[in-house]
């Protein structure tokens, strides 16, 4: 038995979606530090993260978790009609945490001016920034980020790299699925290569 550390793992996990095997008997253990998930389109990166987050049913195998999970998919997952701030406040309150860090996080991500506008009036990049601000606002131990660089401009990409580095240094478990962005490589502690549903640690 390992000591209690933040992390998530899949054991012999098979995921079948729309009658296709997306992940085949995958064994993945994610611990503190940055883990990069790489693989071509359609190799199962998104499904791997969703399986770690408990968002897809496992046909076989099981999932273990130490600590809460923050999953940010490739859509920003913010409810329209609410502002960025209200969305983040909802998430933080739902976790039973406080909402003090939200304003600062949104400002740091450059959506300080617009944080009270309904999210449907923000650009795709601003929505992405607002959803990434959750990393700082919710302080959750396990972070699962699916293609987080999508929609970000260069400044945003730099900011994201800093955020990931800081989360790693805080001992949080960070998993990033991306098919590119070699600039994360020197931060990473582990790699998972996905090929057509088969995972290999690299």
């Amino acid at each position: 038995m390992r000591t209690v550390q933040s992390g998530a793992s899949l054991h012999d996990a098979t995921v079948v979606l729309d009658d296709r095997v997306i992940l085949r008997a995958v064994n993945v253990v994610v611990g503190p530090g940055l883990t990069l998930v790489r693989g071509p389109n359609g190799s199962g990166k998104t499904t791997l993260l969703r399986a770690l987050a408990g968002l897809v049913p496992l046909a076989r195998g099981d999932r273990r978790l130490a600590g809460d999970v923050l999953y940010i998919g490739h859509r920003p997952m913010l409810l329209r009609g609410l502002s960025a701030r209200e969305n983040l406040e909802f998430f933080a309150r739902f976790r039973g945490g406080d909402t003090r860090a939200i304003d600062g996080a949104l400002r740091a991500w450059g959506v300080g001016e617009d944080m009270d506008r309904p999210v449907e009036r923000l650009s795709a990049g601003e929505r992405r920034r607002a959803s990434l601000a959750r990393v700082e606002a919710e302080r959750v131990q396990v972070l699962l980020l699916d293609e987080p660089f999508a929609d970000l401009d260069e400044a945003g990409a730099v900011r994201l790299r800093q955020t990931i580095a800081r989360a790693r240094d805080d001992g949080r478990s960070v998993v990033v699925a991306t098919h590119a962005h070699p600039e994360l490589d020197d931060l990473a502690k582990a790699w998972i290569a996905l090929d057509d549903g088969d995972a290999t640690a690299a």
Partner: protein, 222 residues
């Protein structure tokens, strides 16, 4: 306690979004208003004023309005995967159903009030027992959302879901619609005992189906 707090948070989130973008309310209110207007045109003002006919059409319209508002609410959740953001939270799956029931019941109170007042005014319905009427309508409004929400969740992301949801929901809603219609008709025509017994039944229905929904819906969300 924490479960109730989370349900309240989901309901508050829903109501806030609905207030900013009242698509669900607008669709439902317009629908029920059009139906009340058409009713008296189509069946003639004399028959439309019949307590049974007016109540039956009111509740059928409200059932469809519930389906409209619920589907609208989940459409909003599907934009930008907001639903996923909620479900990915610890306890999110469990809070979803309760929060939606609470929020939609409140939305429907508004819809039912507008639709009810319109019916009373346009059809010039005599109300024998106004307090009983309000009780029946309130309890009827509480009885509709649990089933409709379950069925909308079951049809989520399926093609042809706009057709599927009424097919799934309406047969299951038969007891609620019968009870609400009879209760309303009883309150309109002055049968206090009838109105109250149907109201009691409606209350029992909402409790039963809310409990079933709370138990079973988390399993249905993936």
């Amino acid at each position: 306690m924490i479960a109730l707090y989370r349900i309240a948070l989901v309901a508050a989130r829903e109501l806030r979004a609905e207030r900013r973008q009242p698509d669900g309310v607008v669709a439902a209110v317009t629908f029920i208003a059009v139906l009340v207007l058409l009713e008296s045109l189509v069946v003639g003002p004399q028959i439309a004023r019949d307590a049974d006919v007016a109540s039956a059409l009111f509740w059928l319209a409200l059932a469809f309005a519930t389906i409209l508002a619920t589907m609208r609410s989940f459409d909003r959740e599907l934009e930008d995967d907001a639903l996923e953001g909620l479900v990915a939270l610890p306890g999110g799956r469990d809070a979803l159903f309760g929060g939606k029931v609470l929020a939609l019941a409140m939305v429907l109170v508004l819809v039912a009030t507008v639709g009810g007042i319109l019916s009373l005014v346009l059809l010039d319905l005599p109300v024998a027992l106004p307090v009983h009427l309000i009780v029946v309508v309130l309890l009827g409004v509480l009885a509709l959302p649990p089933i409709v929400i379950v069925d909308v969740v079951l049809a989520l992301r399926l093609r042809a879901r706009a057709a599927l949801v009424p097919i799934l929901a309406l047969p299951v809603l038969v007891p609620q619609l019968v009870a609400a219609t009879r209760g309303t008709s009883a309150a309109l025509s002055g049968d206090a005992v009838g109105a109250l017994s149907w109201a009691g039944l409606l209350f029992a229905f909402s409790v039963v189906y809310t409990v079933i929904g709370l138990t079973i819906v988390p399993a249905a969300i993936e």
